[in-house]
């Protein structure tokens, strides 16, 4: 069972990004570069109201200042060549200017692309009872189940549509959780965000289906800047799934999204992500730079739960967080992050306890293989007002091979004596005893590893909707191909 470096190398060569292809759709592309003009152009193309344009402009000006003063944040354990923000297209839209109203209107080539992605839109949407708001590059192209949801008063549409049709809601909640000045990448997003999803669940409504969006980055060198906003009104419930894949591109692609969740009193939002953006080739060339700001805010007795399976991207910089502002609110974070070859991940969460009797749970699993570093970075903050609050954190790391690193950086800050916090973490490799046991029953080394790692990740997978959990297991398997042997 010695590591055979030769066979390992050759296995790595064989490995290809399964979802790598490019679809030729006539895209309308704004020339490269970032300026006040570009911000204006984006806003104009999207026929946005003045207040939104002003908001974008404020964000842009703030970003400029920050860029001059400090530049990109440097505290994360990731290394990458400097990004030239003037060498990026900030807007690309599929040819058809009007969003299609049904699947029939969707460009067949685009549908084919979704097929290749393993998302047969019609079938899957109907069989699985999932409404899909598919974001292709920057503009939403297909929405199903919209009618059904409408009857319940649920709004599930592209962000741009929401700006046109529900401006009051957007105005009220945009930036209410992640202000435009929040951080470098969120600033950038606020200035140039293209599109994304908007969801509103009315008071007392339980959304009967899992809402789902697939994002892709398609046009060469197009940074994608989605903006997602989910508002769950009092005592409502919604479960939202997000899956991402990107085609192979030579140069790295910047992806800076912002997701804001608002759970009003008594509401619950469950947000699940499967992220397998293109990780770059085995030499670390290409791949997506994923700098994402995700945050939710809880009212009284409300709950926000993040679940993520991160296997893609060359760089992942992502900390889905919960501000537990309301009393008795609950925040959860379940994560599996895998790095192989030259991938780097610096991911984790923030749980900010403000309200009384607030509870948070963090379960983070990191798998490091190949040559990359995998960092868990998490902050749990108990403010003086957060009487009787509780946090439980568990983060475990597995190392596969001796060329990678696992870093665990928890920050625990407690300013209230009635709080109770527990943090546990471990780092090890897959146990030899377990491997021997499984192999004695006839599983080969790779199968045995896969079974142990999937089992080890189960605490997180079980938080995913069933069909996603199966897919997550597959993703791990594909991403780990060639890592053991």
């Amino acid at each position: 069972m010695e590591n055979n470096s030769l066979s390992r190398e050759s296995k790595l060569e064989d490995k290809e990004y399964k979802w790598g292809f490019t679809t030729d759709v006539d895209t309308e592309v704004v020339p490269k570069g970032l300026s006040e003009e570009v911000v204006k152009l984006i806003s104009k193309k999207k026929k946005e109201p003045n207040w939104l344009f002003d908001w974008r402009l404020k964000a842009y000006k703030h970003w400029l200042k920050q860029d001059e003063k400090e530049g990109e944040p440097e505290w994360a354990m990731v290394e990458y060549p400097k990004i030239d923000y003037q060498d990026i297209h900030y807007y690309a839209a599929p040819n058809k200017s009007d969003a299609p109203k049904s699947l029939d209107e969707v460009d067949p080539e685009m549908l084919e692309a979704f097929e290749k992605l393993g998302i047969p839109l019609e079938e899957r949407a109907q069989l699985a009872g999932v409404a899909v708001d598919a974001v292709f590059d920057s503009v939403s192209v297909a929405t199903t189940y919209e009618k059904q949801l409408k009857e319940l008063g649920i709004i599930f549409c592209s962000f741009s549509e929401a700006v046109q049709n529900h401006p009051d809601l957007i105005k009220k909640y945009l930036g209410s959780v992640v202000p435009y000045s929040d951080n470098y990448f969120a600033n950038l997003n606020s200035a140039v965000f293209s599109d994304g999803s908007f969801i509103y669940i009315p008071e007392g409504v339980r959304c009967p289906i899992e809402l789902m969006t697939y994002f892709r980055i398609n046009t060469a060198d197009t940074g994608q800047f989605e903006r997602t906003l989910i508002v769950a009104d009092k005592n409502s419930y919604v479960s939202y799934l997000e899956g991402c894949t990107a085609p192979i591109r030579k140069s790295s692609q910047l992806h800076a999204a912002v997701v804001e969740l608002v759970a009003l009193d008594g509401a619950e939002i469950k947000y699940s992500t499967l992220q397998n953006w293109y990780p770059g080739n085995k030499d670390g060339e290409g791949g997506v730079y994923n700098f994402v700001t995700k945050r939710g805010k809880c009212g009284n007795k409300s709950k926000i739960s993040w679940t993520q399976v991160e296997t893609g991207s060359a760089i992942t910089w992502k900390y889905p967080s919960v501000i537990l502002q309301g009393d008795d609110s609950i925040g959860e974070f379940y994560s599996v992050a895998l790095t192989n070859n030259h991938q780097q991940a610096d991911t984790g969460t923030k749980m900010i306890h403000i309200g009384k009797n607030t509870k948070s749970t963090i379960v983070a699993k990191g798998i490091s293989a190949g040559k990359g570093n995998n960092t868990y970075r998490g902050q749990v903050k108990i403010l003086p007002s957060a009487e009787n609050s509780q946090n439980f954190t568990q983060c475990d790391s597995l190392l596969i091979g001796d060329q990678c690193g696992a870093i665990t950086l928890p920050y625990i800050e407690v300013k209230n004596p009635t709080a109770k916090l527990e943090h546990e973490a471990s780092t090890s490799k897959v146990s030899d005893e377990q491997l021997f046991y499984l192999m004695q029953r006839g599983l080969d080394e790779e199968e045995a590893h896969h079974m142990i790692i999937t089992g080890w990740s189960k605490e997180v997978f079980k938080e995913l909707p069933f069909e996603f959990a199966v897919e997550a297991g597959q993703l791990l398997k594909v991403s780990l191909e060639g890592a053991v042997g």
Partner: protein, 250 residues
Amino acid sequence: MDKILEIKNLKASVTETEEKILNGLNLSIGKGETHAIMGPNGGGKSTLVNVIAGKDSYSVDSGEIEFFSEDLIEMEVDERAKKGIFMAFQYPSEIPGVRPWQFIKASVDSKRKFLGEKELSVREFSKIYDENIKIVGMNQDLMKRSLNEGFSGGEKKRNEVFQMLMLEPQLALLDETDSGLDVDALKSVGDVVNRMRNNERSFLIVTHYQRLLDHIKPDFVHVLIKGKIVESGGYELVKKIEENGYESFV
């Protein structure tokens, strides 16, 4: 008689510390035979079965191990398993998040695939699975947990025997399967072994005590002391050990 396992002058040591455990061991097991190996602690009993199964924390320094006349020493653990060697572990690993059903299905599939047999459908598999659970007397609820997690010592052992029943090995190695078992569990382990005995299948049972052997009545009994078999005989040897202990063999 056709030979299943042939061990000649086997010397083996602990890989990390290079401590020598087996010092020229010879053993020959024929088809359909049940052998028992007895001996004091530290004599090399567990090492022997682990070396046969292929655990890499032990190194074979010299000698031969042949399974159906094929050299085992360089063979991977899973290949040995697929060819019909099964080991019931003394301390089976706990595997979080992996259900027994999923695990055993994967094992059975892997073996069948290797042998060029058709994969069992979920229905066929479940039928055999449920029957065997009853035979071994496994607690159904336990089998809904993660593999061996929260199992008592006795339940883990029963689970090992259950897997043996599912995998139908050519050669079953039982590593102190009787330790930590109560009378009822001991009897049911003995019953399963007896039930599985036939002209084709062989057993190698490692134990300290005679109690399991009273149920099984092995064809051959060997005494393993300081890495060597110092005496071999029939079932009557068990009585001799029972009366005089191992000291008389030293």
